[in-house]
Symmetry: C2
Subunit: 420 residues, 2 copies
């Protein structure tokens, strides 16, 4: 039988004792930010566990990493510390262990109902990078933006293409997204259009959170890259397609993306994901040696996008996809990112790119789902080409095991009107 | 007669009392980082001036902004604090003021010879953005990368094009640059090339350092943008042209740039630059209203690039350009950056893009100077298509007035071989 916690965990919960994802929360306005892990419908306050002396392993015993307002210090400590914390917490939370279960004082202080906390960005993000690792997404976008001849650029099968995104506007799930204003392509001899984006979109992505970084000038070997990945979050790379289409040649996306990027509050650790590893797709042409992995893994993570249209109570599922649709692995992305000597730092965020699959229902953004607005979506009697003010977009992600799930919770945001 | 300091300042110095650029220094390994201003051949230690109670204006009197290891807190305070600091420091350093001049104790503690300090990055950089604001550079690069038909993209005259660069690898002048490795374009049916870059280049740029930022969703008006700019530095956006050419379609430059970006240690304040303001170029077509400035200013800053080839004692001037060659102004860049609601933060770095002028001697990178290696440069009997290991690149910048200069010092870096 699978490990059980003394904390009640419903069978369909995303947060059983096998998961224990990390986040940062506060109990109210003006109160301090504290690291925690999710267990059932509770948050375990790691600052209280630390203050009670319950992290008693050799690495964490004298560390103040859980007394920080973010996870960066813990991220920098690397896998030995992460494994020790996981072992300690699984033991403390297990049904058969008395230490926390039977200590009402510490239990009361450390286990907080999720409804009572406000989740915050779990780490300071030095740099945020966004990859482009789904072949289906690359092909669809190429066809829409540049036409059906050679929609996938020649370099795409040789390297995981990426660009630097905006770190300042990475937001925690639940933050409203202000509709961006900007320029769109001119028609004929008119000047460019200007105003609130008319093609506001989501992008279904996940992102790796970096643990220990690397020194400038010292690339990370692809076979050691996993040791630099702490865990994974859901990510919505909100995109204004009209702004993007006009600005992106030749230096790439800028204002079409930089107005907001939402991540889920709980970082599911790489360790918790391992039972859900699966083979990565065969890569043809074979990657260059620096991208050739001894073991190449994807993860079987079911992903779903719902839209709750403005003024409605019910949301509609618009996409069902899976992390395993990605062509380039997280470890290949990381190795490529550093091959030129670029330094990563703890807390850096590496987005996968939009995770589209081959099926029409598995497309990861409205640009693809509506074919740039040409085929509007039906949502319970409403239609949508792109997002309207008041629409809320909700991502969920979950690894479904036989006796438990390892889930990501949700990543959501609502569109609010442009200022004028 | 111009204001004089009691500290000796040679006539050709970059750092007279009219300049007073800000930096951060330490006195040796393990010693604390402290803010300072440059005066002649000395650094004035602002932590000592602060501890001595000599910042006696209403804003700075009780502030600990100069007791920080970087300038971010001072940057966030905005122009009223900057003006008060400048007035206080010009008074304290003037030849006719006894307070510091005649107090040997404080003078000894606070005035440190430049030769005794190590300069550090002056601020924590949350995000680094690079623009593309010289028309000559855009035209030359477009011609080299995409051919002579329409070398300047259609959007270029309507918006200041930019992309996000890598903040983690922004380096202080004097740091060695490790030659990056990476993929280059395949020839024929071969796989892509891989190895140390064969087309390593510099890019002559300057960059604005942001003071107070803006809230997410609240754009900065172009006519108020100057209040968000603290000052300007020299910047070398090192570029690997072979890596860049293969990777940059469709998401822009990534590994071709992210291995290192060097800035000069002294931030020349916007206030010190004002005597050197000049008209910005006439813009045709006229910019959209959000980019139309009541007063549109450039700055007359002479720029020079020298290469000191590996193993040689002498350096050769390879470029003479000027900041006023830019088409888009710093304030237009900033207004464009935020028009979609993107939030800037104190310490953000906004590069101008390579500052090339119309003359053959004013081209800001080797890509243009050697026309992608087709016309090698002559350097005192040596030739260079691109940079070789051991080559040092040195930028200088200076505003030349009638009775004094306002200079930027130098921004330099030496190429060291790739790891293997
Ligand atoms: Ca994306
Ligand atoms: Ca550049
Ligand atoms: Mg985004
Ligand atoms: Mg650079
Ligand atoms: Ni060796």
């Amino acid at each position: 039988m699978a490990l059980q916690s003394f904390v009640e965990v419903k069978p369909d919960s995303h947060f059983p004792i096998q998961n224990l994802p990390y986040g940062v929360f506060k109990l109210g306005p003006g109160l301090p930010a504290r690291p925690g892990v999710a267990i059932g419908e509770y948050v375990l306050d790691l600052s209280e566990i630390s203050k009670a002396g319950l992290f008693d392993g050799p690495i964490l015993k004298n560390s103040d990493c859980f007394l920080q307002p973010n996870l960066n210090k813990f991220l920098a400590m690397g896998r030995p510390a992460w494994k020790e914390a996981r072992a300690t917490l699984q033991k403390l939370l297990s049904a058969t262990e008395a230490t926390l279960r039977d200590n009402e004082n510490i239990r009361q202080k450390s286990l907080v109902p999720m409804g009572k906390v406000e989740m915050l960005l779990p780490m300071e993000i030095g740099d945020y990078t966004d990859f482009f690792s789904s072949m289906h997404h690359a092909k669809n976008c190429g066809t829409i933006f540049r036409g059906p001849q050679n929609p996938i650029p020649a370099n795409w099968f040789h390297l995981p293409i990426a660009y630097h995104g905006r770190a300042s506007s990475v937001l925690i799930s639940g933050t409203d997204i202000v509709r961006p204003r900007g320029q769109g392509s001119p028609s004929g001899n008119s000047p460019p259009s200007f105003g609130p984006s008319q093609k506001l979109d989501f992008e279904l992505e996940m992102a790796a959170v970096i643990g220990p970084g690397n020194e400038l000038g010292k690339p990370i070997d692809v076979n050691e890259a996993a040791d630099h990945i702490f865990g994974v979050v859901l990510m919505n790379d909100w995109s204004a397609r009209d702004i993007q289409a006009w600005e992106y040649v030749p230096l790439g996306p800028f204002l079409g993306k930089s107005f907001g990027t939402t991540i889920s509050p709980w970082i599911v650790t790489f360790d918790a994901l391992q039972p859900f590893a699966c083979d990565a797709p065969k890569q043809d042409p074979p990657p260059l040696p620096y991208l050739a992995e001894k073991i190449s893994k994807n993860y079987d993570i079911s992903l779903e996008v719902q839209i709750k249209p403005a003024g409605r109570e019910d949301s509609c599922v618009v996409t069902r996809s899976n992390f395993k649709n990605l062509y380039w692995t997280l470890t290949q992305q990381l190795a490529h990112h550093t091959i030129n000597g670029c330094n990563l730092r703890p807390g850096d965020l590496l987005g996968t790119g939009t995770i589209s699959g081959p099926e029409p229902y598995s497309l990861g953004c409205l640009l693809e789902l509506t074919w740039n607005g040409q085929k509007p979506l039906q949502l319970n009697g409403l239609t949508r080409k792109f997002l309207e003010d008041g629409d809320e977009v909700i991502f969920t992600g979950c690894c479904k095991g036989n006796s438990y799930n390892v889930g990501f919770g949700t990543c959501s945001g609502k569109i609010v009107p442009s200022p004028h």
